[in-house]
């Protein structure tokens, strides 16, 4: 086998953590101590700890030490809440989640128009370069950024509606679309994950190496796509929940 030292050290430390030798919230031995214990250089220990941090087992505080991560409560986001009932209740999806998970939500919105790039155009089934309305949103929970989202809608569809404004009114964009004659039939969500760019990681307060969940949601009105929404969120804080009928 002969794995590299940093991998072996990571595996050993992982074992010591999961076996309970170091309890939740407890401090790991310092870098210098571990250098001595394993007889390796500083950087090698760092690599091992970086791995455990990416896995979510360890978090670090500069100047204090490495700590066994406390299992943070994970917010479960029920995706099937996009149903008409929830929508007409007058609250957007994020605000509904906030109520369920008990945090104070803030949403910062910027709105502008641009020409659709290739990806957006393909999701919306329009030619590249078509004018689209962009709704860029930063969602905070108790002040911390937790989700980034950018919606794209064909500009002619929402011309003169409240969707063009920062505040879309009760029920949000979807409610306004329905009023404009685009009754939503279904949503398609594409779910994946990726490593965030450093700037993104910093704004979402993601530990280095931690993945981001990437959801691309397309809203359809009578089989015509009317909105595509790109959503990013930290994978250590959120879990998506989908209900699938068996029949």
């Amino acid at each position: 086998m002969q794995t590299r030292p940093w991998i072996q050290i990571a595996e050993d430390l992982r074992l010591r953590i999961t076996s309970g030798e170091y309890a939740e919230g407890e401090r790991l031995p310092s870098g210098s101590t571990l250098m001595g214990e394993y007889g390796v250089a500083r950087q090698t220990i760092q690599n091992a700890v970086d791995q455990l941090r990416a896995e979510g087992l360890v978090s670090s505080i500069a100047g204090r030490g490495w700590f066994v991560s406390k299992r943070r409560p994970i917010t479960r986001l029920a995706r099937n809440r996009l149903s008409a009932d929830e929508r007409t209740a007058g609250r957007g999806a994020f605000l509904t989640d906030a109520a369920a998970a008990d945090f104070t939500p803030t949403v910062t919105v910027r709105v502008w128009k641009e020409e659709a790039g290739e990806e957006v155009a393909s999701y919306l089934d329009v030619p590249s370069g078509t004018q689209v309305l962009v709704r860029d949103r930063v969602m905070r929970a108790d002040g911390d950024v937790v989700q980034l989202a950018a919606s794209y809608l064909p500009a002619d569809l929402v011309q003169g509606t409240q969707v063009e404004h920062v505040d879309t009114g009760p029920g949000g964009t979807y409610a306004r679309l329905e009023e404009a004659g685009f009754a939503l039939s279904h949503f398609t969500e594409f779910v994946s994950a990726r490593s965030p760019r450093p700037a993104e990681a910093e704004s979402l307060r993601i530990p280095h190496g931690h993945p981001v969940i990437q959801v691309t949601r397309v809203a359809f009105a009578a089989d015509r796509p009317v909105e595509v929404n790109f959503i990013s969120m930290a994978s250590d804080r959120f879990q998506l929940v989908y209900q699938i009928d068996a029949r």
Copy 2:
């Protein structure tokens, strides 16, 4: 702001790639060249490239160089295929996907019994320590490992059925469950992402730093959980697709 050098270099290289200065599949300048260009040490360049690799923009071949990643075709896994129609068609989910995505599937299965740990017990709504049947599966596409899955079922539920054997027969576990009187009502899928352990990354052939999509699927028969399935797959190869009704 004053970001660290490796972040700035990563950002610069990302720009040079996305702007098209280096085309898809093209080789980046060598480490030594970049050390000279940016006036930094080898390790700093390495850190920058590691970041781009985690983002999926760059892949590396030891002894050859760093290359701008070719956008691999992503296999979209339609989750709503868990419906009764698909199930009675006689093929498991993975084999259906294989047919759709055009690869040759292989599944290696190991089966055993053990006592349920805390997590499994809570998903199955049984006491910790209850006997469960474990079906551990390695799924390969054209020989490459692409998915790992481990199913847990209450042992008494499947006592004496074909589910206890490696080959569950046409329609798989779900078909056998229905025959045993447990008509499936719905599935709940919890979707998240995480950084793989090094060993896991190697077996799934995941570039270092690349996330794994983690799906936990619970099958219900008349509101009683009868199976929990933990599925891992590489996020650069798969995307999950969910259809959500709007009414």
